[in-house]
Symmetry: C2
Subunit: 143 residues, 2 copies
DNA sequence: CATATAAAGGATAAAAAAGTCTTTTAATCT
DNA sequence: AGATTAAAAGACTTTTTTATCCTTTATATG
């Protein structure tokens, strides 16, 4: 469903959302350790996220990554589309090009609604929404 | 969600289900052409499926692949688990090891039910079920 | 029985994804 | 200004997935 890379991206952003702030920036290695994401690889991903204003970063001493208020209102889909490309989630389960509701592939009915629902959630759920759940104790990030 | 290989596998099996019979076997290249699946690669996949009794095959002149009555009652999940391994569908969206309903990751609620429902369908839907839909005109295979 | 045919099997190649390493740039702090 | 710190950038390596090629085995048929 999601590539390794976009899982890393979402995890890292959530980690920042919970643990970082403009006053308390977090370095790549400090995300890498608790999440078990390879440090150098994570750095690449954070760079990309930073370039597209999904996370904020500052170089040098006391530098690191954090989320601005704007960053916190980014929708999940933006992260995933950036890392995986827009097609990955949208395409037919069997990768049949002209598969749609009017001309469905044999698996279409098994995933159609399911996928559409997931897609809408990804488009409407922000980082802030997820952090809210975590703070309410409704969900958890791996320490 | 599914690897390229298991998409190929499902597509090929469905193609056989609709077009082949013990009297009218179909060769790898005759599946390869209409489905645009690379022939040599498809052959590998059909071999694997044959080895695990998901499709039937006969060598030599007038040989090829077809589905026995038994083959037609195979569940979709068997094909996908064989090609992709069982973990691919089961694992958490963020690949968090101890993610479960009692200790959900932040994306869990977005996919949990959705995935579970899909999983059940894959476990209960046979090739025959899908062929039935195609014959009823409810779904389509790419010519 | 010889021959042609088509799958099975094994070895290899190409492409994509994941991961690493080294250098450069920007910021902070004496 | 100089030293230090941490991200940015770019080149590179490894692993996995996808794909191809060639040889062997089984089978039907003349």
């Amino acid at each position: 469903m999601l590539s390794n890379s976009s899982k890393y991206a979402v995890t890292a952003v959530l980690y920042l959302a919970v643990n970082a702030s403009p006053e308390n920036k977090i370095q790549a290695k400090d995300i890498s350790e608790p999440t078990a994401i390879p440090k150098a690889y994570l750095s690449k991903i954070l760079q990309e996220l930073s370039r597209h204003h999904i996370v904020s970063s500052v170089k040098g001493p006391n530098g690191g990554f954090y989320l601005s208020e704007e960053n916190r209102n980014v929708n999940l889909i933006k992260i995933i589309d950036l890392i995986d490309g827009e097609d990955r989630l949208k395409s037919c389960v069997l990768s049949i090009k002209d598969c749609n509701a009017d001309h469905p592939c044999p698996l279409h009915s098994m995933v159609g609604q399911t996928k559409a629902r997931f897609f809408v959630k990804m488009k409407t759920t922000t980082i802030n929404d997820l952090v809210f759940d975590i703070k309410e104790g409704k969900s958890f990030l791996p320490l």
